[in-house]
């Protein structure tokens, strides 16, 4: 995703500090950070590390003690906060939907503040409901209490997007939602983001969510410091210090597998294959020539059957992985098929090569040798879905 974005910072935080009255230790300490336009930047860290405070400094729900906030190049540290916030989408964990207003009225909140006329608001509401997967005619006149948690969160996202702001702040938006629905909502947000390309700051305490959602991840530590600000790949493969590797927790290797798409991975192309139309003598010859236990039969380029060299009937190719699948999916397929190899296809489903277990092990091992600790840690991040 990052290859399609410019590197122009949409949000720029300069030496931002927040010290609450009566405290000596700052909640956010001289934080400088650029959020590039059109990217999702995830603030992640343990509770009380200042990630939510930092987010609220951006729309000045919390006023900074010192430092500057630049939005699209403009210094907004001292502009009228209400006006500033109308230009920044805001979605929170408990949705904050107004229970006494209908879904449509909730979504229309900011457009109405901006003085849009009635028909424009109505059209926008319907378009947004459609975008977040709720049929407008069925949902627009309901009240939030009549919706499920996941539906409420969809409305919350629609409301944040209502006035088409360039920047979106999301504070653990899927934190209080069951894991299955959360995954759906994450995927939907990524799908929507591919269309709308907003600059999104996303706060979570769940490292898995951070890895999944983030073009970049900022890892916060106690005292409002950012200890590492990098792409998910580099955070997982080169954690800056012990705090980061502790926070990533056990299983960084497996997690990293989910970051590499098959399309980018080394695919072996030396597996013996044979056209499906080949007759018995051709098959026997091929079996004799190779040292593999199985031959792969291709029907017009599509993988169809494994042919055992020991003789007997063929086994169907159950689940080939495509270029959009990740190494994690490949490993999962191997484990569930009780096999140590998967067939890799191109986007059209045509045979491209194979990927075997030793290759994946090598990938993990190489990175381990490069110094990635995989020790078991206290895994503070693993309790996903826990409400704050």
């Amino acid at each position: 995703m990052s290859d399609q974005t410019t590197d122009r910072p949409m949000i720029r935080l300069v030496e931002l500090t927040k010290t609450y009255p009566g405290r000596t230790a700052p909640a956010v300490d001289a934080l400088s950070l650029d959020v590039p336009e059109g990217e999702i930047v995830v603030f992640v860290g343990p509770s009380g590390c200042g990630k939510t405070t930092t987010m609220k400094l951006i729309n000045r729900l919390i006023e900074p003690t010192s430092g500057r906030i630049l939005l699209d190049g403009e210094d907004v540290t001292h502009v009228d906060p209400d006006r500033l916030r109308r230009g920044i989408g805001y979605a929170i964990q408990q949705t904050g939907l107004f229970p006494h207003r209908t879904v449509a009225e909730n979504i229309a909140t900011v457009p109405k503040l901006l003085g849009w006329d009635r028909t424009r608001v109505a059209e926008r509401v319907d378009a947004l409901l459609h975008m977040v997967g709720l049929a407008p005619e069925e949902y627009r006149d309901l009240h939030p209490r009549q919706l499920s948690g996941g539906q409420q969160q969809r409305v919350g996202v629609a409301r944040a997007l209502a006035a088409d702001p360039p920047v979106l702040l999301m504070d653990e938006p899927f934190g209080a939602i069951d894991p299955l629905t959360r995954e759906t909502l994450q995927n939907e947000l990524l799908r929507i983001q591919r269309e709308i390309r907003k600059t999104i700051v996303f706060v979570t305490h769940d490292i898995d969510e951070a890895v999944k959602m983030g073009d970049r991840i900022a890892i916060f530590a106690e005292g409002g410091r950012v200890v590492q600000y990098d792409t998910p790949e580099r955070i997982l493969s080169e954690p800056a210090d012990d705090f980061v590797s502790d926070f990533i927790g056990a299983g960084a290797s497996v997690r990293r597998l989910s970051l590499t798409r098959i399309g980018d991975a080394t695919v072996a192309e030396d597996w013996p294959t044979l056209p499906f139309s080949a007759d018995a003598s051709e098959r026997a010859a091929a079996v004799a020539a190779g040292d593999h236990d199985f031959l792969l039969l291709l029907d017009d380029g599509l993988p169809v059957e494994w042919l055992p060299s020991s003789g007997g009937g063929g086994l169907p190719v159950l689940a080939p992985v495509g270029p959009d699948h990740t190494l994690y999916d490949a490993l999962d397929t191997m484990l569930s098929n009780n096999s140590d190899v998967v067939v890799v296809t191109d986007a059209q489903g045509r045979y491209r090569g194979t990927l075997d277990l030793p290759t994946i092990q090598d990938l993990i091992h190489v990175d381990d040798a490069a110094g990635v600790p995989t020790r078991v840690s206290r895994s503070t991040s693993r309790r996903s879905g826990e409400p704050r």
């Binding site: 729900l61 109308r86 929170i92 006494h100």
Partner: protein, 264 residues
Amino acid sequence: MSATAPPPSADAPPRRGATARRTAPSPRVWGLPLLLAAVLGGLYLYVGSQDLDRIERRSLNAEYLLSRTVQHLTLSVVVVVLILAVAIPLGILLTRPRARRFAGPVLAVANIGQATPTLGLIVLFAVVFVAWDVRTIVIVAVWLYGILPVLRNTMVGLDQVDRSMIEAARGMGMTPLRVMLSVELPLAVPVMLSGIRTALVITVGTVALATFVGAGGLGDVISNGIASSRDTVLLTGSVLVAVLALAVDWLAGLVEDLLRPRGA
């Protein structure tokens, strides 16, 4: 819900409902006025069947009872308006972050107002503020008595509004005033109204004490009955005050149902 809408079923994905209360008046709504009408009718028949002497007739005639009822209602309305005018803005003010520290002391004063017996207060004012009009004395004393429920419920009602919702509203660029008017107050209305309802009933009941300083009202009928040992008069006065208080409570209940935010 339109007549063509399908009946709500348990497995329909969006949960519907909560609108029925508004459309179909239940027996609960009409039961009380019918009961009060029956009580008044019974009272009328009972008094009509009695052989009234001159003293009784001086109190038990339509003109006299009507004038005392009007006095009673006038005093009550003035008191309630004053209560609302002071307690609601004060309650809003005391829930703002900057003024919150005054909430304790102010509530303590309001508590004293309610704990003090109103009759004592009326008599005390009558002695101390000799220059005051008797109605002013009654109004101030009953006003002090009724502030607390409205003040306290306004504060409780505003405090129970979900903080995250207020923050979401602020985060979307609503000004504090707009958050107050379009989020906090509408959601506090049910709790506030129940306090107002309490104050209404208290006020209508307490205004009966106005008779002790000669400020009129239905208390006159009761004290006539006591002074002249005429039980029929005493009974009529008591029943009228009670019916009036219950009727006011019923009306307030209707308003409460009407103003309750939908969906909440």
